[in-house]
């Protein structure tokens, strides 16, 4: 099966066999093509090449309804139950053939008979909002089984569960597989789940099948190597010596994460002048929260931020004075106004500043325009004019626009998140060399990235974030990608 988006091969001739009654784990980094693969199976996307066999027969799946008819079901990373309805109501309305008038007595009888056959239960009479995450996840799985699914895709089913809930749910799923009648393909990042519950494992890397084996035949180190590829040897780029002066210091910091269920806890994070500190980690382990803490969008419950030795509390005056700059991920959504012009977007940082950095009242459009033209030239931003809305530029040029804005003038600290995500090779090279150049000028760079290769290539020192905490820290030269990869998977 292949899937191509423009010039980008998201899936390159991947063949995957899931035996009847097996619990098959699918491993891979962010962007390895796992989601694309299951979306093609479920009919959300049509593959550019290749096909699907269900049983022994060629299956044509145009949309998720076809998939449901063939007995293919999927449990999504986030819940798809209606919170205000009870478990029973959720099960009934999910049916593709749900009648317009529902005979609740008959439905209840059918459900009870169905549940009696199941090895595990979920409360059916309470509204879903009152259920715990584990109960909801069991209900999601029951829903799929009730719909007649014989092949189930679980997309990181435990990311919203506590470890105990995760174990419980996966034990039940495994039991169902062993009884036969159900086959499971589970997307995961966690080796522990693969070891304990799955019987087969396949690894995707950069859209290709990197390997497939029975669980137990491969060690975690071998799996890591498959996921991450050959041992990465950083190219020697011209690097100046790292300074000793601490520019950014986050101490004893804690804050609730996005779901409000877990806590982000960072004991000690220091970035020195002329250093790139890389934060590696699988997406969703608190990197977004870290960015929001630093930009001031999220308040700390405890702890403090210091920039250049002075306490920092993220208002405009302080961020200008401290010369701290941010390049958040997905720059068009988080750092630009799509309908404003390139020149205006380039001016977001200093439109209200005089030459000496003080506040001014009157905006000067001619100055903004001139600055825009200068930066467009200097950073090689491809646009038809400085008046064009930034939203019509390509992703690489939007990112160049943001970097041009944040790297011009005097900079002490630069915080970047996934700067090259989804960009073409030329833009990636250009943007990475900008980051190295900034570092060599003495800027303290904090690079948060889900792309481990990027971290290994760019950073002087790296940390791994796992479940909101720093799980590992090392000098980049003194570690290996497999070591880092193991910590990323919680090993």
């Amino acid at each position: 099966m292949s899937m191509q988006f423009g010039d980008f091969k998201a899936l390159d001739n991947v063949t995957l066999r899931v035996k009847a009654g097996s619990f098959h784990a699918l491993l891979g980094e962010n962007g390895a093509g796992k989601s694309t693969l299951v979306k093609c199976i479920m009919g959300f996307q049509a593959p550019t090449q290749g096909g699907l066999l269900v049983g022994r027969r060629e299956a044509r799946i145009k949309d998720p309804v076809d998939a449901q008819k063939l007995g293919l079901g999927m449990v999504y990373q986030h819940f798809t139950l209606v919170p205000s309805l009870t478990g029973k109501e959720n099960l009934v309305i999910a049916r593709a053939d749900a009648p317009h008038v529902i005979d609740w007595r008959a439905e209840t009888a059918r459900l009870e008979e169905f549940l009696a056959r199941m090895p595990f239960q979920a409360p059916l009479d309470r509204p879903v909002t009152d259920l715990s995450a584990g109960e909801k996840q069991r209900l999601e799985i029951l829903k799929q089984l009730y719909l007649g699914s014989r092949f189930l895709i679980l997309d990181e089913p435990t990311s919203v569960l506590t470890p105990n809930e995760a174990d419980e749910v996966l034990t039940h799923v495994r039991a169902l597989c062993q009884e036969g009648g159900l086959s499971v393909l589970m997307i995961t990042h966690k080796f522990r789940e693969v070891d304990q519950f799955a019987d087969h494992v396949s690894v995707l890397r950069r859209g290709k099948l990197a390997g497939s084996a029975r669980v137990g035949e491969l060690s975690n180190a071998e799996l890591t190597r498959m996921m991450i590829g050959e041992e990465f040897t950083p190219q020697e780029t011209q690097r100046t010596k790292t300074g000793t002066h601490v520019m950014l210091n986050l101490r004893a910091a804690s804050a609730p994460d996005q779901s409000g269920l877990k806590t982000i806890k960072i004991e000690d994070l220091k970035v020195h002048a002329g250093e790139i500190l890389g934060i590696a980690g699988v997406s969703g382990n608190g990197q977004k929260d870290l960015m929001e803490i630093l930009t001031g969008q999220k308040k700390l419950s405890t702890g403090a931020i210091e920039v250049d030795g002075k306490p920092y509390c993220a208002n405009r005056e302080e961020s200008q004075a401290a010369q701290i700059r941010f390049v958040p991920e997905e720059p068009l959504q988080n750092a630009c106004a799509a309908r404003m012009s390139v020149a205006e977007n380039l001016g977001f940082r200093n439109f209200d500043r005089t030459r000496n950095g003080g506040w001014k009242l009157l905006a000067n459009k001619a100055d903004l325009q001139a600055q825009g033209m200068r930066l467009i030239e200097e950073f090689n931003i491809k646009t038809t004019s400085a008046h064009s809305p930034v939203g019509v530029l390509s992703g690489g040029n939007v990112q160049r626009t943001v970097l041009a804005r944040e790297l011009s003038g005097d900079v002490k600290v630069l915080v970047v998140a996934n700067p090259c995500f989804g960009l073409d090779v030329a833009s990636v090279t250009a943007i990475r060399s900008r980051l190295i150049a900034a570092r060599n000028r003495g800027v303290a760079v904090l690079l948060i990235s889900e792309d481990l290769d990027e971290i290994l290539e760019l950073s002087d020192r790296l940390m791994v974030m796992y479940e909101g905490k720093v799980a590992f820290e090392a000098q980049t030269r003194q570690t290996t990608s497999s070591e880092v990869g193991t910590y990323m998977a919680g090993g």
């Binding site: 405009r316 961020s319 404003m340 009242l361 009157l362 090689n380 491809k382 038809t384 064009s388």
Partner: protein
């Protein structure tokens, strides 16, 4: 992407990229207005009335003579202020539709303050009326902004519901604690002496100073939005609040400040209604100016300068409703039907921005 290199901008392209959006912002609302008038014509035909007669009566009653211009312009002042109460928060991406509440409470504050200061030096009393009125309006709509910032309360619904509370408060105070015993048929606050009444501007037509003040307020707001860094910061916030937060712009203060300023301006509409027209605060303040202001601001694309002509046009519509009622035997709510149709079509037209090829620079490339 294009083949144009960065180093050499085609000047023609820069020109198009600059002007096409501006032309688009005039053409689309104008087309929506005209379509609204056409749809309304169908409505009239269905009633067996002549659209031609209808529109010529609007022209006659609103714009044809010195007398009709006076009739129109005297209604413009509250519409200008009410529209600014929509336009200022709109720059931050907020839809505030409860200006009516600030208008009636501003008028009430002016009426009460004036009644309490009868006998004080007229200059001071008048200044206090303006200040109290603006203060009440600023707190009223600024409170909506405050709830938005601190509690995430939807500003549209909050401001609308608060307008009903404002109207109830007006009725309560003019019928209860501040009722002038002399006001028998229409409960009102005490009648203001002539010294506390705003007079006409010396421009040849009888139009009170509220019109001049409203025009000045529009120009001032345009200057702030278009020429100052505060206006630019507000635009960033309105276009993408996350980008504004990452730039550490004072998003909360901008929202509270802009809503408060909008409320203060709407309250001035109430002040002028009381001081220039009615002479006391009473139920006449509840005239729906706040709601017409919403339509005006949207038609003007929330541009304070464009608000001036649009407000004059809509004031002409309202000025003609009496004549239409008498001549065509239509209820005076007919004008409201017209406004409603125009507003719905206008909201639909919002989806056209950026979709019409003719407004893209690439369309004009040779």
């Amino acid at each position: 992407m294009t083949d144009t290199t960065t180093a050499s901008f085609a000047p023609r392209h820069a020109y198009l990229a600059l002007w096409l959006p501006r032309i688009e912002a005039v053409v689309i609302p104008l087309a929506a207005l005209i379509s609204g008038l056409l749809v309304f014509s169908l409505f009239l035909l269905a009633l067996g009335k002549s659209p031609v007669e209808f529109y010529s009566l609007i022209y006659k009653a609103g714009f044809s003579s010195g007398f009709s211009w006076k009739n129109t312009l005297s209604r413009v002042a509250p519409l200008l202020f009410a529209a600014l109460c929509v336009a200022l928060p709109a720059r931050l991406g907020l839809v505030v539709i409860g200006g009516e509440g600030a208008i009636v409470l501003g008028g009430l504050a002016a009426g009460i303050t004036g009644a309490m200061l009868i006998g004080a030096p007229a200059g001071i009393a008048m200044l206090m009326m303006v200040l109290m009125s603006a203060l009440v309006g600023a707190l009223w709509i600024g409170g909506v902004g405050w709830m938005r910032v601190k509690r995430g309360v939807n500003e549209t619904i909050a401001s609308l519901l608060m307008a009903y509370i404002g109207i109830a408060l007006l009725n309560h105070f003019v019928e209860g604690p501040f009722r002038d015993p002399a006001s028998l048929n229409k409960p009102s606050t005490a009648q203001l002496p002539d010294a506390l009444r705003v007079g006409d501007m010396p421009i040849g037509i009888e139009v009170h100073w509220g019109f001049g003040a409203g025009v000045v307020a529009c120009i001032l707001c345009w200057f702030i939005l278009d020429k100052t860094t505060i206006g630019f910061a507000a635009r960033i916030t309105g276009q993408n609040i996350r980008a504004a937060q990452v730039q550490a712009l004072p998003v909360g203060r901008l929202i509270i400040g802009f809503t408060a300023a909008g409320g203060a301006l709407a309250a001035l509409a109430g002040f002028f209604e009381v001081s220039a027209i009615h002479g006391a605060a009473n139920g006449s303040l509840i005239a729906g100016y706040g709601y017409t202001g919403i339509l005006i601001s949207f038609l003007a694309r929330h541009n304070p300068l464009a608000i001036i002509p649009v407000a004059i046009l809509l004031a002409g519509f309202e000025a003609s409703s009496g004549l239409i009622q008498r001549r065509m035997d239509l209820p005076d709510a007919t004008i409201l039907v017209l406004q409603g149709i125009v507003f719905v079509i206008l909201l639909l037209s919002e989806t056209l921005y950026g979709r019409l090829a003719i407004f893209r620079p690439s369309y004009w490339r040779v």
